[in-house]
Point group: C2
Chain length 227, copies 2
């Protein structure tokens, strides 16, 4: 039997999106890298959402969602807000530039290149996640001078990692260990969960300058713990 | 009501893959840009396939498929073979470097960066397409020095277009016409169906050099007709 080399999965290309739902009273959303077109006629798109994710509940209730394509230069705060915190007791939309779609769902306009609004036509249970398949009801460019952020750029340049409930989360213990990496350590940001892994960085954590900040949420070096 | 600006859909990021199925006697496959991970535990991936596409039939029969991540420098012949021709009466695997997976499906190794083999666990009817959801049974890097091809690179650098039965095919008449484009023409490659659209190119077709060849299949300029 062949083995699974999880490194091979990193070769799948993704963009990064804000998938949002709800209404004017209460909106919520999360950063997703698995939004994709499933048919051209009519235009339908799918998005996967962890069942434990509050947004899954909100999409089920409202029967619609929006997808905003994140800008390559989206600020760290966007990841802090949408990527690592639950919106159950926190209004993620509070400081955002929001447009409300035809279905009433919030559409994040800041730090984004384009958006789509979709009405759910099918919900597929795929195990840990629900896949919402939506028919496109509107789409517009927000700023054509901006470039879409890709997951590759996020990982390589922004040093971001997938949170635990993402479809593409990889348990590092499953990766093939390289002997030289065995003595290397990992450090976790207590604010957003970002992992600084010495095995993939060129600088030891202790050698980072004191004013170094978390590339995801901007927390200070002292907010990290060894894991 | 908001309108649909189809240009906004071009901001969704995709990779390009060879999705194959069948066995040693008869294998088939096609170029897909909609392969994506749907869960991490277990690792499951989805791929959409047009119902009219011969590969859909083959995947249904074999209950398994392979996904090879195309190399950024994949040759034009790969697109000619897998992107624009039907495998019904033609052996697409004939000149390929093939490995056969645990399920017996062919896995294309040449011009590719990594591969995955998947067993179908769920088939979702999404209208014009079938979405095959497969559980990962093997994955391996083929060549780590190669970079994955993205749809953006294919469109911008290789000047490729989606064929008619792709989930991301866009009927150009739906794009917002720019006045300056109205007098521009399109030319179609009779061999592979590739469209040279003056509205998106910087050179008129007639001004292309005589030794210009189709970027997809390598056919000569004289094999193009005005459409």
């Amino acid at each position: 039997m062949d083995m699974i080399n999880f490194e091979a999965l990193f070769k799948i290309s993704y963009g990064l999106y804000l998938v949002c739902s709800g209404d004017k009273n209460k909106g919520n959303g999360f950063v997703s890298n698995t939004v994709f077109q499933v048919t051209a006629n009519p235009p339908q798109f799918a998005a996967c959402c962890n069942k434990d994710n509050y947004t899954a509940e909100v999409i089920k209730k409202h029967g619609a969602f929006s997808v905003s394509v994140m800008d390559k230069n989206a600020s760290a705060e966007m990841f802090g807000t949408f990527g690592y915190r639950s919106g159950k007791d926190f209004d993620k939309m509070a400081n955002m530039d929001i447009k409300y779609g035809e279905t009433g769902v919030p559409i994040v306009m800041n730090d984004c290149v384009s958006y789509m609004e979709l009405r759910v036509v099918q919900t597929v249970d795929v195990g840990t996640h629900l896949m919402f398949i939506g028919e496109l009801i509107s789409a517009e460019i927000i700023d054509d001078t901006k470039e879409p952020l890709t997951y590759l750029y996020y990982r390589e340049v922004k040093k971001g990692v997938a949170p635990k409930n993402a479809p593409t989360y990889v348990d590092k213990s499953k990766l093939i260990a390289k002997p030289a990496q065995l003595e290397l350590k990992s450090y976790k940001c207590l604010a957003c969960g970002y992992i600084y892994d010495e095995a993939v960085e060129s600088i030891r954590f202790k050698d980072l300058p004191d004013d170094w900040i978390c590339p995801v949420c901007g927390s200070e070096k002292s907010d990290f713990i060894e894991i």
